[in-house]
Symmetry: D2
Subunit: 336 residues, 4 copies
């Protein structure tokens, strides 16, 4: 690992032993030459269980940053801890892998990005969708010129069900919590920046969502600086599962990224011809993406390659999420 030493002594700490922390821990354990050394989580039982599974020890935030043998940290703790942990990791010169979002505040995220830049440490923000084989194939085929210049993008992004209201209260709202991924897809696929954003939303699936000042269905339109058009439609409840598609049309054709299914069984009965529903939710749908994301992180830091999803990407997606939130609340088109 360039500045970080040889790959075979890459010791790593993880903050957060919850659902996504376990995924990341499993994926980093699969990287050759990488060792999970310390697990940190306020929930002592969760920390101990994850540490035991991977032969690591339970530690503290302070301990991690004081330990020079730890070359990289994976931040999978709650959102309100991200920015501070990123900054402390940057100060300690550790490579950073942090779940999205950088922070719920655009200004805070901006400061955080500056700190990272000045520290010169690698920092990957967890926009795992860019590592999804289907999504990445679209991008690669666009790079190869298959559809010529892109003109329009349509993103469909639907969850199988809304999270608990307690979660929603602290989530920053649907645009920062859910659409932030779609804003990143937008920037990545069109390779362009927003000139204006229009967003509207409704509470259609559960009145409880409205009770905490949020919406559960949104329609967003983005015009880019080059005049391209993008539309994003999202909803918190698609009873058929996690619906993750996009399509991009250009002068020479269209590329569509479709859903994955658990199996390729087709049943023909007296009622219909039916296939499996999409993979149920993000842990299943993006299983391969999470693994490839982690492999990219260690490959990049070991070989001095550029990180594909940087903290700047995290900041830009957040800027779009803030603009969309304002557009929705104030019922106006927001220029960027």
């Amino acid at each position: 690992m360039s500045a970080l030493g040889r790959p075979d002594d890459a010791q790593v700490a993880i903050f957060g032993a919850g659902r996504i922390g376990k995924i990341h821990a499993g994926n980093l354990a699969a990287q050759p030459g990488v060792k999970l050394k310390v697990v940190v989580d306020p929930d002592a039982g969760a920390a101990a269980a994850l540490a035991a599974k991977h032969g690591a020890t339970v530690g503290t935030v302070e301990g991690v940053f004081a330990d020079p043998s730890i070359r990289a940290v994976v931040i999978a703790s709650s959102t309100d801890t991200h920015a501070e942990l990123i900054e402390r990791a940057a100060a300690a010169k550790k490579a950073i892998f942090c779940e999205k979002p950088v922070d719920l505040s655009y200004d805070r995220a901006l400061r955080c990005a500056r700190t990272v830049r000045e520290a010169g440490v690698p920092c990957l923000i967890g926009f795992q969708r860019r590592y999804d084989p289907t999504f990445a194939a679209v991008r690669a085929r666009m790079d190869a010129g298959e559809i010529g210049d892109p003109e329009m993008l349509v993103v469909t992004s639907r969850d199988p069900g809304a999270p608990p209201v307690e979660y929603l209260k602290r989530s920053g709202g649907i645009f920062k919590d859910m659409l932030i991924h779609d804003f990143d897809i937008f920037r990545w696929i069109l390779d362009d920046e927003a000139e204006s954003v229009y967003a509207t939303g409704s509470c259609l699936t559960d009145p409880a969502v409205a009770s905490v000042g949020d919406v559960d269905a949104t329609a967003v339109t983005i015009r880019t600086k080059k005049g391209r058009l993008a539309q994003i439609n999202t909803i918190r409840r698609a009873v058929y599962g996690y619906d993750q598609r996009f399509e991009v049309i250009g002068a020479k054709g269209m590329l569509q990224a479709g859903n994955l299914r658990p199996t390729e069984v087709v049943a023909s009965t007296a009622e219909s011809v039916s296939a499996d529903k999409p993979e149920h939710f993000f842990l299943e749908r993006y299983r391969a993406a999470y693994a490839l994301e982690m492999a990219h992180f260690f490959d990049a830091i070991a070989n001095g390659k550029p990180i594909r999803t940087t903290i700047e990407d995290g900041v830009k997606a957040l800027e779009l999420a803030e603009a969309a939130t304002i557009s929705w609340r104030e019922k106006r088109i927001v220029a960027l």
Copy 2:
């Protein structure tokens, strides 16, 4: 035909012997008990050819309205003649089948609709998509409760290529010329009315389109009075053909209306697994829809049934097209 006499003496005149006129003439010739009597077109050769094909005679506007044996007229002439022909037909108490749009001016269309209403004649506006078997099946399955209350609608509507600039100049702009169908789909599928419209557009496929003050790509968002959300994306050039899809999601699932293909051949080669492109353009894609539309017209007037696509629908779609045009031009959200 209730007020119009027995079906076996339903004599009909057609205005317009062009591309769509020929389609309608062929379809009305196939209706039992219906006879094409007169063809009217400024192009004498076109009129004569179409008349000859169906054993009709070439006539004049005046002649048609003076002939009491003509019970119904099909208006397939240029857009600027629609409103006047509708009003004269209403005055002459003839049943009316008119291609969309009623007029390029919302106010003019509104007056026209009032005249028709007061005359009490049946009047069908040619929103043929509602008669398409695939689209109609979605509507029927929604009526049967298959997806519960609809929540969001996404319409994809792309032409294989832009018409000549000369056509575009007189077309009323993309929202009235092309999206008027999509606005009708929106109203029909969601069974709801618009509360606000946001539209943006770009000239992305051919600078000639911009030279006549039009755009060739649009992104439209409609909020309904019930808080539902709809997005429409259109482009004038999809190199893979006529792309006519929509999907509607509700509390119990999603229904998608997909493209039709000329054949069901799948080829697996060293390069890919490929299927046919969609049917090339509207004459092919909506062949069945045009036939069913005409059958519905004569069935409705013969049996006193309500017309499915009324002049009020024509007016409402036009109102949305005007609102979208204003939204695009003035870069603002337009309330209805």
Copy 3:
């Protein structure tokens, strides 16, 4: 019509006013310059109804063959009348359109074909599948070299349900009644002749089928003279509808002909993602094929073009059906 006079005086008689007779009558009525003059059917009511619908008269076999104004006959009567009607039509120098099979006896069919050949009249046998747009596209793409030399063919041919036992008794057995179409597809797609046939069958869906000495499920393998291999699987009852597929693999790829669906609606629900079942049975599935077959017949006889599905094809398919019947009954491979 070359030897048959000008197209605009092509008067036609039809034998058989049943299900398939009605289809053919409708299709011939749609041919420009063709007029259905006489309908013949032992069921006087059926004959009268069909004649009335198309402005024809009810007639007799003798009357038809004695009427020099009748240039062509469509034979859609029961199988046991085919061979005699063909021979009488040939003697009367009328163009012949005859439903399959020529006869249930290979020897009888062979004699019949000789008579036709000697009379020099055009004779089309109703292998309508060759006119199906999907099936015909496969053949055309093979002709264009898309998959190189064909190597293997797999045909899936399943009915939605078995006909009544009374029908089965007179049907000649499943190989002559149902698989005769598949044997024709085999010859047409591989453009090769059988060297040996192996057929086995079972009575799996309804014991009544066995009670009349027939089977309702078959598996057939054909080796061609060029060493190519073909497999056909059939069953009388597919609860999901009429399943009509084949696939052919060659040195450069595979072409698959798939089922047609009534609509292109896809439903995603809490249970599955489902599409329409295939078109229910042959009248729906081959609607376009029947129309194109009739158009080809009149085009061929009017313009002196070769008939695409000749009586020789009818004889060859019957030969395969007889061989398969023997193979199944005697449990042995039959050489041809």
Copy 4:
């Protein structure tokens, strides 16, 4: 591990460090409580590389069977070593995971199975397809009664390209080398045994195959004791990749197991609408199956559960392969 001790001391030896050996080694390394201790391969370099990768040592056949700490062996060496290694492992009371086939000789395999049975050791034969999520889902849905009693099975099994002639010479012929998997699928899916087999084959893709007395394309038909019918079509070269499908029809419907694709991208261009080709070959297509097979093996031996793909299954599949070979060579139907 029941008779084999606690899972956390399950030490394992692998015979064979080639392509499939590496896959199995990787999968067993991922089993909790399982440790690869020894790698044996005549190719010292291959053995050393695989041992190094998994922290194992290079050993000998004798050493493995003399080492009581080794509880299980994975046999991934060349086919001619399988039977002897199985018997020595049985004698040494080790659990056995052996790649198919048990042996190229049915009689030898039968003796081998007897030895295993008498030794009472668990023995899994590597019919990995039964562990494929898509294939296994078909079986599970049949068990749940979704299609009622199965009636017919159609198996399509095509390789992307033929192996080198040197390999073919020692392969036992296409029926034992390639179709053995399909014969196992047949037995597993229909849950029935063969009453008769008819097989024919041709050399269509490469004359070199014929030069070693083999064929590269086959068509097999099996009648079961219950009268069900199965057809298998295979070819050594499908230019579009590894084609692994089957479909089974029953009284209540059909289940089809389709191919897997690397991504879910669909491209619409001026030429066609295309998807990815199937996964290229067995290592990619059955990646998940191999992992699940290994997990099942250790789960079964640890928890005393029955092995799903036993040596008896290996013997039965080989019996069918021998029968098919005879049928092809002697051009006759073979009764079992």
